[in-house]
């Protein structure tokens, strides 16, 4: 993990995860409402 984004790599990964989760939740709610 640290090899890719250096000493503070975890902060970059958690940011990516937060964005991915946020978008996934929004897409899921939109998909559920569309059905």
């Amino acid at each position: 993990m640290n090899e890719l984004f250096g000493e503070h790599g975890a902060f970059v990964w958690i940011s990516l995860a937060a964005v991915a989760i946020g978008i996934a939740v929004e897409l899921w709610t939109l998909r559920r409402a569309t059905r």
């Binding site: 790599g9 970059v12 937060a18 929004e26 939109l30």
Partner: protein
């Protein structure tokens, strides 16, 4: 009676629904390509920053999120004003459709900003003008959703529309404070690196940032239009029930 401007016809569901139906696949595709290419370039190809090291890569997420959160609220206020002035149903639908996506990006701005701040500033949070006005923006979004949901009645969204529109307009006063906070006050948050006069960052970094921003914009547009279609269809169906209900009373 004067002829309405050709743009007005798009305020009708009969035009808005087919138009957005054609636009949405393009926006989803643009979102996937822009986010994919922008983040690949930004996270894996762009050079390491001389001062911030690898941690600066969080900005490929933070900066687009912050722009979207801010502009979505501006658009909400624009449609609120439009709806109050001309009473078009579509204006209030768009105002409401913007709120959840704006909330998502406002919260992501705070999370990613905090995750960047801890290793770079040595703190998760400071009460400086930029961060405080960004928090206020997120709270305004949440307040807007709470207010409209609380005021709505099952078959009449107009009270919720008007209450929400007022809050959207009053809350828009926060936008210039948020945008200019880094120049008006001496904040810990850095000033803008990109403006209309140019940019102060390396071309490869800039390309990644612009591509990911384009992708996130397309995503936000697609999500908002999808939600607007759902809200509009629900309203059209709800209004269609009225004549039937009145007919059954007669």
């Amino acid at each position: 009676m004067t002829t309405p401007h050709p743009l007005w016809r798009y305020a009708s569901p009969a035009h808005f629904l087919p138009l957005t139906g054609r636009l949405l696949p393009l926006l989803w595709l643009l979102a996937a390509l822009g986010i994919g290419a922008g983040l690949t370039l930004g996270l894996f190809i762009a050079p390491t920053d001389a001062q911030q090291g690898e941690t600066y890569r969080i900005l490929y997420l933070h900066v687009p999120a912050a722009w979207i959160a801010m502009v979505c609220y501006g658009a909400m206020a624009f449609w609120a004003l439009w709806g109050l002035a001309w009473k078009t149903r579509l204006a209030f639908v768009l105002m409401r459709a913007l709120a959840p996506t704006g909330t998502l990006f406002a919260v992501l701005t705070l999370i990613t900003g905090s995750l960047w701040g801890r290793p770079m500033w040595g703190t998760w949070w400071v009460w400086d003008a930029r961060l405080t006005s960004a928090l206020l923006l997120a709270l305004l979004y949440v307040g807007f959703i709470a207010l409209t949901t609380a005021v709505d009645t099952p078959d009449d969204p107009r009270r919720g529309d008007q209450a929400g529109a007022l809050l959207a307009l009053v809350g828009a006063l926060n936008l210039p404070v948020l945008y200019f906070s880094v120049t008006w006050w001496n904040t810990l948050h850095q000033g803008a690196s990109i403006n209309l006069r140019g940019s102060s960052i390396a071309p490869q970094m800039l390309a990644g940032l612009l591509l990911s921003t384009l992708g996130f914009w397309a995503y936000a547009g697609a999500a908002v239009l999808t939600r607007a279609r759902l809200l509009l269809q629900a309203r059209v169906e709800s209004e269609a029930r009225w004549p039937r209900a009145i007919g059954s009373l007669a």
